[in-house]
Symmetry: D3
């Protein structure tokens, strides 16, 4: 592979996230914290911070907000080479408002993403050389759900990357506020035969895909039915909005093996948004770097657990940090209380 290739390219919407300061509420106060976020950006950034080269295909308004987002994308280590810009009068950046929770009050999200510039992205805006520039392509069900045009572009990108030899990763990431279960199922089932690495929750498997029985059998069925090679399902226990446990199961169809580990317990949840994407990032990093599903599962669990402790959608952990956390998670002796 040549020096300029990417390990991973993703496709999806990038939004402005606005949050009141920790514990404050949307309905009160004078301040919003401004951040960038979006499922596929979160994944690209997580993989980049761990040490691989990543880029993202998206469309931003050609104004100060678009520039802010572009700068933040670069800040988190992702290439802006495949961003395209919208200079029409209708150009807009999708945004969402996020308020953290504290038991018994739950976190709240208000979306305002209709008609964002990315919904008008065209295949012709994406350079032809992209398909051979990356080892892996990733997108999620959110891109399929946002509008028909994005669905068309996402599916076409999956096809072209697949043809060019890239591994295809897909996170079902079902959002009931974006589309119905039936529509989602039909759409996703059409692309599953193209997918190599699948992220799907147990709840979605049971409710949307109507799977029943043991979780492991369910996970295996995606390999059997559609030829998926890796299936990953997270297992999160919400003790309170500020305290979670987390682990996952990864199924490798080639070896027909399941990988899991003891959960990270009593995670201090500072900001839960993006922890699912951080999990995807960790798994994809493990696959891209080591080709090892066990390591993928370990990086996924660690990256996701740590993301919960960091404000914002985007992960901020480098390889050294995650490596140390994995090591300590498996360590049985005394560990230092502090990194000095």
């Amino acid at each position: 592979m040549d020096k300029n290739s990417f390990d991973l390219i993703t496709f999806g919407e990038i939004m402005l996230r606005l949050s009141p300061p920790r514990h404050a509420r949307i309905v009160d106060g004078d301040i919003f914290e401004k951040r960038a976020g979006g499922a596929e950006l979160n994944v690209a950034s997580g993989v980049a911070l761990l040490g691989l080269r990543t880029g993202i295909v998206s469309k931003l308004p050609q104004n100060e907000l678009g520039t802010f987002i572009k700068n933040r994308i670069r800040f988190v280590g992702v290439s802006d080479d495949y961003l395209v810009y919208d200079d029409t009068p209708d150009a807009r950046l999708g945004l969402y408002y996020y308020e953290m929770g504290a038991a018994p009050r739950k976190p709240t999200i208000v979306y305002d993403r209709h008609q964002a510039s990315v919904t008008r992205i065209k295949m012709s805006e994406i350079p032809e050389d992209i398909y051979h520039s990356a080892r892996m392509f990733h997108t999620s069900g959110i891109s399929l759900a946002l509008c028909q045009n994005m669905q068309n572009v996402a599916v076409e990108l999956i096809r072209r990357f697949k043809s060019a030899g890239a591994t295809i990763s897909f996170d079902v990431n079902y959002r009931a506020n974006l589309w119905g279960e039936e529509e989602a199922r039909k759409t996703i089932e059409e692309i599953l035969p193209l997918v190599d690495v699948l992220f799907v929750s147990e709840e979605t498997s049971r409710r949307m895909f109507k799977k029943t029985g043991d979780l492991k059998d369910i996970m295996k069925s995606y390999a059997t039915d559609y030829g998926v090679k890796i299936v990953a399902t997270t297992q999160r226990t919400v003790i309170s909005p500020r305290k979670h446990n987390f682990t996952s199961i990864v199924y490798d169809a080639r070896s027909d093996k399941f990988y899991t580990e003891a959960p990270y317990n009593d995670i201090d949840v500072i900001d839960r948004i993006g922890s699912g994407d951080a999990y995807v990032a960790g798994v994809l990093f493990g696959l891209l770097k080591y080709g090892d599903p066990e390591k993928a599962m370990q990086f996924g669990n660690a990256t996701s657990s740590v993301k919960n402790t960091v404000p914002g959608d985007l992960p901020s952990s480098d390889f050294k940090e995650i490596d140390r956390i994995i090591h300590e998670h498996h360590s049985t002796g005394p560990v230092s209380e502090m990194n000095r």
Copy 2:
């Protein structure tokens, strides 16, 4: 009742509250967060946010501080129609400093409320039409304790609202730093025959009113002895300054029934001040809206529990939020982790 009537009018002092940012201390740092607070305002605001029309009788200095408080009162949904202003050179706004705790350090309050303008409020400043404009009147033992003039005004207001047909609600809210138990008991016993809805803690019942025996018998005795119709007693368990459990018992003398429910456990306490007033607000809302003591108890518990998770004295929950929390508290199946 005509369109301009109020569901609830309260009487009491409104103060400026100054707090160092979370975890910082009064003795250090450069910043105070400025907020409005006061038991009876907290109650009026809680009921207003849940959807009813409320107002407050109080006196503010005719200066920038008074204007700030007036603006905040309106912000939290309470009418400023019955506020009166003090333009004398002695006009002042009472204030208090509040520092949050973290185990084993307890929260700290320093009051500076002597000689506030409200202590010089006169009956003649309160318009005559007020007594027929509201379905319910509420005040607390704090108003009785602050000074002789406020006590006189409070008692007179109770009398006049009662005569005009309003329901009288009273929260004993005993504060040892304001008056002695003996003086408090004597004063309160005189107004109890006028009270329809009584909020009194178990500790106060036992220590100030010298009641003994089972809590339910104690609660019932207020109905038997003074004709109180509803008696409500909260049950808070302080696990740490940042973790409480909370529920309550409501006694309805008309049906001679007690209402309670499983406690809200492991409440993430961000700011405990005002959670007692939020309880009163929830109960009064339940009574005013539904006339149902069970719903009153449920709204009281939920509103109080949520208040603990929000910075500031004042509640910020609307009906939709509280309704959802009550529903989930009683739900046995899986609930979503987030409001999207």
Copy 3:
């Protein structure tokens, strides 16, 4: 007029305004200051703070953002009685981003207001009793420009208030980014015969209405041609983004007199947005309170000048402050340096 009437009701969009902290830029930094703004809200608030009763007709999303705006509207003294709420999935709050300038860098605004809930307001949502409840109605060219539906509603409101006997105030407030000059001119010319109080800039008079010659003659022509009774034109000199001079001319057709005064010079401009609306508020207050065009001009100039010194769209001056500033502006002797 009965106790519950309003002195002024306005109609228009209310937006969320997001600004980086003073001197910081949209493309950088972690924080946006969140505020409410909108031309007609600014006017209603300015008049309310000066002591009259005002309300606003608008439509907000039925979510946390809508609640925030409603709370802020109340905070600035305006009634929320005539707000209607949008609980459809498309509900959204229009917003704009504002970055302050510093010479030679100019202030920048990025709008994101397409498809806001207010653009779908319906006449049937506005209660019939509103037309007889107010002495004056005000809206601006922005409401006409935003979309055809708002234009229809605005024109219909003007007609109905006029029929009910209210004075009609209209601020041309031409925005080239919303509509073309030709379209604006045609639309506005149709409503001018209904307008009693007209605010129009010299530039708009010359460019959009193709008026030529002396400014005073131009102003007078609105009275002659359309029967406008009061015409007001501001005169702002921009020395730098942080230093302006300001005065205005008011023409009273009934007496055929022009009123003006020496400009406020060297205004320390902290935030220029909303200072035009503050001018409108001052003039309308002067007319409503005193029926005196000279006082109207004085209140307009003072209120606008002070607004420039305050962050946010919304004015924050009460009568005492404006009265003192007018007095000192006309004073020739020494004035105190500070309000103690």
Copy 4:
């Protein structure tokens, strides 16, 4: 003089100052900046920062607020040896709210200092050894005006320090909101025979002391009439709330000479409060350190000018900074733009 002596001891009230962030208003916003302030503390601190040993006599509440103030006093270099504490239930710290101005809006102060603990300070609380421990004693007309008890204590302190051989410095500092001109004049005339160094404004000389004629003759008359040795009068020109010019005249009765210098022009006023006290501090430092009225005038002008550029009542300049500013003020060649 022994190692433990002080160069200067002052007497006066120390208050908590609460200010909204720059440009924000008291009536709005969520934050107050918290600081310590008080005319005589400002003087003691200014002299201490320039390198001499100073202390202050005052009384603080024995609570967290008192501790905060004590810590800040130490922070600014002043000894807390002569502070006394009030542990009665009435203990309170005086406070004031300060909002900065921007033309044409003037700065605003709201005081809330009635009944502060310092008003109950007793001579018996001040240790006897204090009178021989300092070379100079300073207080101001504010201490005389606050209440009869403080006036008694202030006058008694002046007498005792004078008897013990200390130089007496007095700043008339007339505040119309504290007492009337007639009462002030009578009170101050009684202590003038004890005063060695007098600070009095031209306006006060003319209005309160009914002096007429040339300013220099007026200044001289305090020496002639009462035996004052040094008379200092500042000359401030307020161009706008954010732009002042400043210089002063110092009269030395011993040599019968006047000292002045070209004004500091176009001072960028960030926070004007305390700049008068900073002037006193600079002059007293010049007298204590060099015994030279010309240097006193220069240090006074420089220290006061710089104070205007710093937020808070208290000065923050050390000798190196003031020395450099004096040098550059008198320099005619090119000076560096920056201190590197």
Copy 5:
């Protein structure tokens, strides 16, 4: 002992500490909180806040950073009499960056303290009168480890204070990032015969000093082998970065007794840095004030527990607070939830 003597003098480096706001990360964000810190300053401040007179020997750069640190030292109640200043071009203030943790992410420290001015402190800069001015002298292994010169100065100070009759306190405080265990052991063993009060962790006793067997026997061995009179060992259980338990054992060689108490459980850890120093401060206060090892142990445990709940290295608790916490820790009945 005369009035001007100190109860405790310490020696060590004082650093600038820079921390991102709570939960934010060093690699992101726009803000660092600036604070002063350093093991021996923390100890001196802790003892001063509890009511005794303390000072510190250290060297600071003669620039704005040095002045900031000096001001903070005074703010926290410690005398700046024995600070010396470095005005060479190489003058620098050591600093460190501290990021708080949240499970499973651990706290992180990055040091930047090489070549700080304090490493060039000379015996000749420390006044001769210091040795007879204090009842106790304290330093830690950090001072020995930083560089050869500081080690020489620290050892010489220990010798001279010992000769002058002061009690010598020493906290081993081993830091693997500063020196090796072997070098540390050799150096410390040389000074142990001079030490009266020794703070050493169980881990250090076992790993560095190669002690084995029961902890109590280990503690006792320092008395037997080197004549140490008081040996104190803390016992911290890290449940998570935000939840600790804490107690300690104090051995008194004179009475051959061990003192301990039930741990403070579920401490809400806001900032763990400096809690070990706060323990030392509490113990030394107990010894200096009461000469009672049991009280020393109680003050140490309470002061350390509370320090964990306060941001910054430096303690902020006065005697009243610690006394109340000790009392409640031993109380078995109900305690109030709040300090009013």
Copy 6:
């Protein structure tokens, strides 16, 4: 030139900059704003934001601080391809503290950059392919002055880039606190024969290079004596720390012409640091993009003027903004007050 080439590569130190919030002081307060800065980074970023591809050669510590700086470098559009990392125990990031000024107080800088990792950068760490990857190379006198090793590396980079055909740009940027005039002159004279584009101030030309006579003759002499092709000299007039005028002269030796324009007057100086580097960036952009010295002068003046209005060392202007400002600077008709 191939797709991966850079338009500009620079070499120099990158520092952490710590500033108190606007108007606050280093000696007080709780907060530092954290930013990246460094003359050659500022230049690379300025050119990148205007639309060209740039990179920087530097060395950063392999820790969280290095990561922060790397992220910020990417944020401002500069490639991190040629950064090298220091993982030795001595690794450190140079830093400086910056306090803004307000007349008569000047801005203050305190440097702490000794022994930073960059001072140990080696030629062997810089990849060989770099020399043919860029059209232009830039560094400044600061890199020559920091230490002998950086001087060696800087000179060697100039030689190698020159040999590879790149244009060499050099900014004298004399800093008296880093080296003496004599040493600087000798060193710089040795590299001047290699320089194509020279930035030198009039003061440096006269004092360091001992040039006399007319400024234009002086500028020309660098072309005559050393073969420099473009010589640029800025002309800044400091009215106050917050108000500057700015223009420049550019000499083109090939055409023997001088280019200048009317100054930008009354620039609102928010943060002056980096405005000289922004000038260099504008000029280099003009040369690289258009090869036109007049456009270079115009872009230099505009970019520098705008930089003064933005907090931080780094520019933040894109092509659209600068183009608009140049256009308005030359416009004679009315210009809009705001960018909408």
